[in-house]
Structures are given as structure tokens and as C-alpha cells.
């Protein structure tokens, strides 16, 4: 449900940047969303269209770059791929994992005019 708030934050950023970057309209928004960021992509897409309505990004295309989850396994001393926060290390089975990738939610770049 917080995907709606995330989209409102995105819109705020788009509006804030419009002055400095001198654009009137946003045509495409690229987001980078990690698999461990707790973001439901479909909900985000739905909310995006709703929130952008009537704004400088109305009808803008949403491109999402999905980043796989990664964690540092303390016993193994290496980075390992994880799909869920409760996944064990695929090598040693330990849960002594520190997430160090795939938990981001970034606005990467925009196509504007």
C-alpha cells in the first residue's frame, strides 16, 4: 500500500528538479528497485499512473530496472545472491547474512522535455 506514497515522493522529486533542470514535462522515469526493497512492482506501476495524473509527468512511461538481492555471508566471507530476507547462504546454509545489495529504490534518470 505504501507504493502510493512512494509515487508521491517520486512526483515531489520530479517537481523539485523541474526548475533547476529546466524541463516542463517528464516523458519517461527510470527507477532502480532492488528485490529486497519491499516494493511491489505491479502496485507501483498502478500507483504511478494514478499519482502522475494532472502533473508534469502525466502519461509518463515508467521503466523499472530490477536489481537482484545480495548479502555478505559472514561464515563464508563472500557475497551471495538472496531472493528473500530469510534465505540462507546457498553455500553454507547460514543465516548470518548482511544484505548489501538489492535493497535500494532509486530514481535513476528521466527523459524530459
Amino acid at each position: 500500500m505504501h507504493e502510493m506514497s512512494l509515487c508521491e515522493s517520486i512526483l515531489q522529486t520530479l517537481e523539485q528538479q523541474a526548475g533547476g533542470q529546466a524541463y516542463q514535462k517528464v516523458r519517461t522515469v527510470w527507477l532502480e528497485i532492488g528485490a529486497l526493497a519491499g516494493v511491489e512492482i505491479e502496485a507501483l506501476r498502478f500507483s504511478f499512473d494514478v499519482v502522475m495524473e494532472g502533473s508534469l509527468a502525466e502519461g509518463a512511461k515508467l521503466e523499472i530496472i530490477q536489481v537482484p538481492g545480495q548479502a555478505w555471508c559472514l561464515p563464508c566471507g563472500v557475497n551471495v545472491p538472496v531472493e528473500q530476507l530469510y534465505d540462507p547462504c546457498p553455500h553454507c546454509g547460514s543465516h548470518q547474512l548482511q544484505v548489501n545489495g538489492g535493497d535500494q529504490m532509486l530514481i535513476k534518470e528521466l527523459e524530459v522535455e
Binding site: T13, G38, H95, E109
Partner: protein
């Protein structure tokens, strides 16, 4: 269909609903047409200004910035701020009222209550004699640092005291929003099922302390405490866990000691 989304609420209804609908759509298309014309003009040679802009900024940047400012403020004033999160009905408010009764003579305490509606929780806290402020999020599913910031303006917090922020009952959304707290404390009651930590991993991953509440009910339930703890550690190997019953008081001493120790830590000024 129209009744649900409201799109049929126009000058004509019922029998002619579908008809009206089609007309409306046709209208929309015309509008689209005008728009695309405008777009074509914008793309005329020499006028096209489509370009890329690099942003590289967290979607939560604004919230994180507010949270950062609050955290600095809390730190400057030696305030221990705890963000209490859980599903609805885990007993957060009872835990708070019982905690306040045990601590209020020694320590300054204030509470910010987040709920979608009503001031019932704030009223329960006020009845204990400490400051409380209710934030109603309306349709919102979580508190954010901006709202908490405004709530702070209305509270008179004394230095070196404890501020509890009781978040909206929701094990999903509040995990993503930093409020500037020292710790997220997740409350799980034994009536909920031991697998909550892996069903809602984000929250248990974000929390530093888990309180297993309502343990007085264990004899009547099939809740497996060991398994629950194992699940929580699986999601978050660093999480600390306290078992207690706010109702009977069992285990409350541990929690009170934890609070006092954490409050002391806020007095340390790191370089």
C-alpha cells in the same frame, strides 16, 4: 462497473449507461487526438528538446532527510526515540500504558500515536498522565518523518527523556519509513502465529528488538516460541528478543531495564 468506479455518474444513468459511456470514451479519444497534435508540433525540427536528466536519488530521499534532521535533534537532546511497529492488536498500547506506569516517576515520557482514525489510543496514554499526541493518517498506512516532525512541534519534550512513536498497526509499510528513531521495536503477540517473521520479513529485518507479547496466553495456544525466535533470527541475525506479558507483568522488568540502558546510551556524545 460504473457504479464502482463512479465513471457512470453523469447526466444520464441506468438504462442509457452504456451508451453514455461510449460517448464519453469517444470524447476522450478526441482529446487524445488534440494532445498528440500538440506533441507533433513540439517535435517540429529545431523545437525538439527531449533529453535525459540524471537523478540518482533515493525515492525516499525526502523522508530520509527529515529523518536525519530529527535524529540529530534527538541526539542533541539525549532523547531515546523508539518506533513501535506491529500488526493491529498485538498489544502495543497496553504495553505502553504498562511501561509508562513503571517508568514515569523516574523518566520523562511522551508518546506519538499513529492510527488511521480516532484518538482512542492517545486518550489511553493521556490517562496515564504523560504527554500524548495522536496523528491520524486517514487513508495512509504508515507514519513518515515529515508528519512526526510536525507532531514534535506540539510536544514539550524534556531533554534526556523517552519518546515512543506507536506506528500504524501494519507489518508492511512502516518498515520502509525511517522516523529518525534509535530503534524500531516490533511487537508480536503469541496469538498471531510463530511464522510472522518470515511472512513479513521486511519489518523483522528493519527492527532491532522484538517483543513477544501476551506470553500469559501460551498455555492456551499452539504457539511455538522456539520456532518463532528461530524465524526472527533467520530474517535478522542481530535482532534481540524479549518475551513478556504486558497484562500480567511477566518479563516487564527486562523491558524496563532495556529502556533505561538505551536511554543512558543517548547521553554518550560520539565524535
Amino acid at each position: 462497473m460504473c457504479g464502482i468506479c463512479g465513471c457512470g455518474e453523469g447526466p444520464v444513468h441506468l438504462d442509457e449507461q452504456e451508451h453514455t459511456h461510449e460517448h464519453e470514451h469517444a470524447h476522450d479519444h478526441e482529446h487524445d487526438h488534440i494532445h498528440s497534435h500538440a506533441a507533433v508540433h513540439a517535435h517540429a525540427p529545431g523545437l525538439s528538446q527531449v533529453r535525459m536528466v540524471q537523478i540518482e536519488q533515493s525515492i525516499l530521499a525526502k523522508n530520509n532527510q527529515y529523518a536525519h534532521e530529527k535524529r540529530r535533534f534527538f541526539s542533541d537532546h539525549g532523547l531515546l526515540v523508539l518506533n513501535l511497529v506491529s500488526s493491529p492488536g498485538s498489544g502495543k498500547t497496553t504495553l505502553l500504558t504498562e511501561t509508562i506506569l513503571r517508568l514515569k516517576d523516574d523518566i520523562g515520557i511522551a508518546v506519538i500515536e499513529g492510527d488511521q482514525q480516532t484518538a482512542r489510543d492517545a486518550e489511553r496514554i493521556l490517562a496515564t498522565g504523560v504527554q500524548a499526541l495522536q496523528i491520524n493518517t486517514g487513508k495512509g498506512c504508515h507514519l513518515d518523518a515529515h508528519r512526526v516532525g510536525h507532531a514534535l512541534e506540539k510536544l514539550q519534550l524534556q531533554d534526556h527523556s523517552v519518546l515512543f512513536i506507536e506506528n500504524v498497526g501494519n507489518l508492511v509499510c512502516p518498515s520502509a519509513f525511517d522516523l529518525g528513531e534509535a530503534h524500531k521495536v516490533v511487537v508480536l503477540s503469541v496469538t498471531e502465529g510463530e511464522d510472522k517473521p518470515i511472512k513479513y520479513p521486511d519489518m523483522f529485518h528493519a527492527a532491532d528488538l522484538m517483543i513477544l507479547n501476551k506470553i500469559d496466553l501460551l498455555p492456551h495456544l499452539d504457539f511455538n516460541v522456539e520456532e518463532c525466535i528461530q524465524y526472527a533470527k533467520q530474517v535478522n541475525p542481530r535482532i534481540k528478543i524479549l518475551s513478556l506479558s504486558a497484562k500480567t507483568g511477566e518479563g516487564m522488568d527486562n523491558w524496563v531495564q532495556w529502556l533505561k540502558a538505551e536511554l543512558q546510551l543517548q547521553l554518550i556524545a560520539y565524535a
